[in-house]
Amino acid sequence: MVTVNNKKIEFYNGMTVADALKAAGEVPDAIVLVMVDGKILPHNKFDVELVAENTQIKLLPLITGG
């Protein structure tokens, strides 16, 4: 399984971060940070970054600037 926020997604070999987000129904816009196993992943890597079984993906929307 892969977790996207609190949603559990069925894992399969070759699954990318983009696939996991799509399966979870998430379309993060430019100001949402996506954290994959505790590391921020740039949006342009979603299509190429593979996920592993038990990967945790968290969406962190930027609410304001610091």
Binding site: N5, I31, N44, L62, G65
Partner: protein, 568 residues
């Protein structure tokens, strides 16, 4: 009833009296605006005897509303020449509220050379003490000495050597809750210079033996609404990058989309931005014993602060924030996070605004004074400021003064104040805010990134800037804007909070108009009386003429749009 302290630096007296009835329901930025327009002549010399320096608590001070203990500091700014309110976290506002003090007014100038310290003891007695022994001492050492003298149950508000020298970029530093480090800055607009002109080196606020009890119209109702709001904020904060990482997380967005300023707002991208980004920061915290998720004030649920250690695991700085990292980093073509942390530490220590200072360094690089990306050379310029050399004193007068002196054509300032870490061509609503905010180019006055349909487009930018500028006025009167940002779905609750605290109607316009629109228009009226015109509501020419290489965008908001922005 809340108290007001009046500090007369000429007579060297301290008077405690009840807060004026007209200010009882005000706080923070709203109180500063109303006090200033009634009591401080707009055309006065910011460093002269007619200017006053104000320290005040928020509308909800002393209550359990999370992050409500922001300290607002206000005065006529020596940098912008207009009204300035700069608010800061840390422990001071909380202890002032515990002391029952809503407002401190510092008036006049000393009749002889000297430095003083305002001491508010645990019994509530406030006295001015000779502080000449602290002359020339910077904030970190000063706070250590204050702790040795008065103990640890206290908060400090202080200036370093920059404030004493009346640099126009001088900040006022406030100690953090927990650590006591003087790393929280009321940075913008040179308020440290005003404190220096008045010979006030520090304010020491001890934890009172008896805590002031706020008077509520309906305490049970207030606590019920407060609990709801705190819950909303705490739940939302758990997914907030500022809580999970820190404000440095912003770089992950701005670095990718061209909003991050690079090489003095050149409009270029900085491919190495991840070197000063969230993953590097978190790795350094984890491997060196640093920490994030720290609260700078008691009761904060956002907890965006941090403690950043050097390579040997020794404390280097805290409150290490996006603006500092963006502007000393990519905007100076520097990708060494540790060097930037050193710069942050020096700025906090001598007491200068990191935004103003970093832009000043970038302008020095553009003018060829030092090389792009040369962190050692940047550090040596900071040392010149600390040492007070001739060029160091020029640096202390800010980005515009240095840019003009070096013949630099691209000086990123509005109302003489340097821009925050967002390129206005690629977040145009933020550009409108930079241009029109009474505070000068300031990100906290209404950052629109991600709020309009397209950050580089024109659609809705003015609308969003207008709404956010009003919202930031009332947010800055009530609480930390990072917590406030999570309350948007439940904004009307603030009207109910006002009614439960002060009585009267729970109408939200008490907040949106009373603390928001009225504050903004008062500040603009003050600036107009100080001599500002619509020509001051413009960005520097190069943002209109040069395209951002990252996006192809120019700042194409026309003057009419800027001029009608506040025709409510």
């Amino acid at each position: 009833m809340w108290s007001k302290l009046i500090i007369d630096m000429k007579a060297l007296t301290v008077t405690k009296e009840p807060l004026d009835a007209e200010f009882q329901e005000l706080g923070g930025r709203a109180l500063i605006a109303q006090y200033m327009i009634k009591n401080v002549p707009p055309q006065c010399d910011p460093l002269g005897n007619q200017n006053q320096l104000l320290f005040c608590n928020t509308v909800f001070a002393g209550t359990k509303l999370t992050t409500t203990h922001r300290l607002s500091i206000g005065s006529k700014s020596p940098l912008t020449g207009g009204i300035k309110e700069s608010n800061v976290g840390g422990y001071a506002a909380s202890l002032l509220a515990d002391q029952g003090i809503k407002l401190i007014v510092v008036k006049e100038l000393p009749s002889s050379e000297g430095l003083w310290l305002l001491h508010i003891d645990s019994k509530g007695k406030a006295t001015l003490k000779d502080a000449s022994i602290y002359q020339g001492i910077n904030n970190y050492e000063l706070v250590e000495k204050i702790h040795e003298r008065f103990g640890n149950k206290l908060a400090t508000i202080s200036i370093g050597s920059a404030g004493e020298r009346q640099y126009k970029n001088a900040s006022i530093q406030v100690s953090e809750f927990g650590s006591g480090h003087p790393s929280r800055a009321a940075a913008r607009g040179g308020l440290g210079a005003v404190m220096g002109s008045k010979g006030l080196k520090a304010i020491v606020i001890e934890k009172p033996e008896e805590r002031y009890k706020v008077e509520y119209a309906d305490e049970a109702k207030f606590n019920e609404i407060c609990q709801k709001l705190n819950k909303v904020i705490a739940e939302a904060a758990s997914n907030d990058p500022f809580h999970n990482i820190g404000t440095i997380a912003t770089i992950e967005v701005t670095g990718a989309n061209g909003i991050l300023p690079v090489d003095n707002f050149s409009g270029r991208l900085f491919p190495e931005y991840t070197e000063v980004g969230a993953n590097k920061f978190m790795t350094n915290l984890a491997t060196r014993g640093g920490r994030n998720k720290l609260a700078c004030q008691p009761g904060c649920v956002v907890q965006c602060s941090n403690c950043y250690n050097d390579k040997d695991g020794n404390y280097l700085t805290s409150g290490f924030e996006y603006e500092t990292i963006a502007l000393f980093g990519p905007n100076c073509h520097i990708s060494d996070l540790d060097a930037i942390a050193q710069m942050d530490r020096i700025c906090d220590d001598i007491g200068v605004d990191t935004i103003e200072t970093a832009n000043t360094i970038a302008v020095c690089m553009e003018a060829g004074k030092i090389k792009w990306g040369d962190a050692d050379a940047a550090l040596s310029l900071l040392k010149e400021m600390a040492d007070g050399t001739e060029f160091g004193r020029l640096l202390g007068n800010g980005c515009e003064a240095v840019g003009k002196s070096l013949g630099c054509k691209r000086i990123p300032v509005v109302k003489h104040q340097a821009m925050a870490g967002y390129d206005p061509r690629n977040t145009k609503g933020t550009g409108i805010t930079y241009a029109t905010s009474p505070m000068g180019a300031d990100h906290t006055a209404g950052l629109t990134m991600g709020r309009a349909f397209d950050d580089t487009g024109r659609t809705a930018q003015a609308y969003v800037s207008n709404k956010l500028q009003v919202a930031m006025c009332f947010a800055d009167s009530m609480m930390c804007i990072f917590a406030f940002a999570h309350t948007v779905p439940v904004l009307p609750l603030f009207g109910e909070l006002m009614a439960a605290l002060y009585g009267g109607s729970p109408d939200f316009t008490r907040v949106s108009v009373g603390l928001g629109v009225k504050t903004l228009l008062t500040e603009r009226a003050y600036n107009k009386m100080a001599g500002m015109t619509i020509e001051d509501d413009r960005l520097p020419d190069f943002f209109y003429n040069e395209r951002s290489i990252a996006t192809g965008s120019k700042f194409d908001i026309n003057n009419v749009e800027l001029e009608v922005l506040f025709d409510f």
